[in-house]
């Protein structure tokens, strides 16, 4: 039995890293201890499968696990 511990925030891509990793800055105002934090994020498998490309400056939606708030998972590229 695992409790669901993920929540969503928005951010902006700062840097593309190897292996479809990205540095993303959180822009959501909540939760407040995360705002402006820079997280190492990977691209969700569904986005990788659909060849969604990210560039620095793109706004994205992230999924963050409350158990490790230093990493994120990019689940959507916002328009």
């Amino acid at each position: 039995m695992s409790a669901p511990t993920v929540f969503e925030v928005e951010g902006v891509v700062l840097e593309n890293l190897p292996n479809t990793s990205f540095r993303v800055k959180v822009t959501s105002s909540l939760p407040d201890n995360l705002t402006d934090k820079i997280l190492l994020c990977h691209l969700a498998g569904r986005m990788r499968r659909n060849w969604v490309r990210l560039l620095p400056g793109d706004k994205v939606r992230l999924e963050i696990n409350s158990l490790d708030m230093s990493k994120g998972r990019v689940i959507y590229r916002l328009k």
């Binding site: 409790a3 909540l30 407040d32 995360l34």
Partner: protein, 249 residues
């Protein structure tokens, strides 16, 4: 598995407004509790007050449940269906009420009329548990506090039922058990913007509960001893916990 929902300060403000109104209703109903009044009358009163306050009874939005409140008499733990039954002198009466106000639910309950020593433990457990609801703490910190307080007083916590997250839906993630379960490291962190309905459910006797009859709702203690329920809707904010279902501002 739904995700945790993070509420903005504006959303929490709306919930706080609903919470204040609901708290007034809860307190008013608990003052109306007296021998001779039926649980159905209390329910009708609560429903009228909720509608007058501009909300809708949350519990009526639960599929299959047609009442605005749950009135839990004596051995009933939760989901006591209001009806013809009259309150007798010395009965323990638990009032559980929820309001859907401007798109958000708030949920609260209080127990009156039982032995004061027993009730005091529940109030204290809820107060202590709510104090744990700040960012950086874990769900288990809340659970542990409830368990320690209740079991420290010689009562037992109900294990089959939990508190819950609350917001646009009456029941959201995460579940908040009244006892510590699993590994502490696996328990979710609390982050600011979460709103939780922290419920302290405890029994005078053993922790076991059972369905009373075939109405599908009423849950009673297995050994027929009394049970208490105290609940607040609490917002986790950067400044610490904020109890939304409270009258004073």
């Amino acid at each position: 598995m739904d995700k945790l929902t993070i509420k903005t300060p504006e959303e929490i403000e709306i919930m706080a407004e609903g919470g204040r109104k609901l708290a007034e209703i809860r307190d008013e109903i608990s003052r109306q509790v007296q021998p001779g009044i039926s649980t159905g009358q209390l329910d009708t009163m609560a429903e009228k007050m909720i509608i007058k306050a501009g909300g809708k009874p949350s519990f009526k939005m639960v599929p299959g449940y047609a009442w605005a409140t749950c009135i839990n008499l004596n051995e009933t733990v939760v989901h006591g269906i209001p009806g013809e039954e009259k309150i007798k002198k010395g009965d323990k009466v638990g009032i559980d009420v929820g309001m859907f106000y401007k798109g958000y639910h708030t949920d609260t309950s209080v127990t009156v009329g039982g032995p004061e020593k027993f009730l005091e433990v529940g109030r204290l457990a809820l107060k202590k548990a709510a104090e744990q609801a700040s960012p950086g703490k874990r769900i288990m910190d809340i659970s542990k506090m409830m368990q320690e307080t209740v079991e420290g007083a010689g009562y037992s916590v109900v294990r089959a039922l939990t508190g819950h997250g609350i917001g646009r839906k009456l029941h959201e993630e995460p579940a908040i058990p009244c006892f510590a379960v699993g590994k502490y490291e696996h328990s979710p962190f609390l982050v600011s913007g979460m709103v939780l309905a922290i419920e302290v459910m405890y029994n005078e006797g053993a922790a076991e509960v059972a369905y009373k009859n075939d109405d599908g709702w009423t849950i009673v203690t297995a050994d027929d001893k009394i049970s208490g329920l105290f609940e607040h809707t609490v917002a986790v904010t950067g400044d610490g916990p904020v109890v939304l279902t409270t009258v004073k501002k």
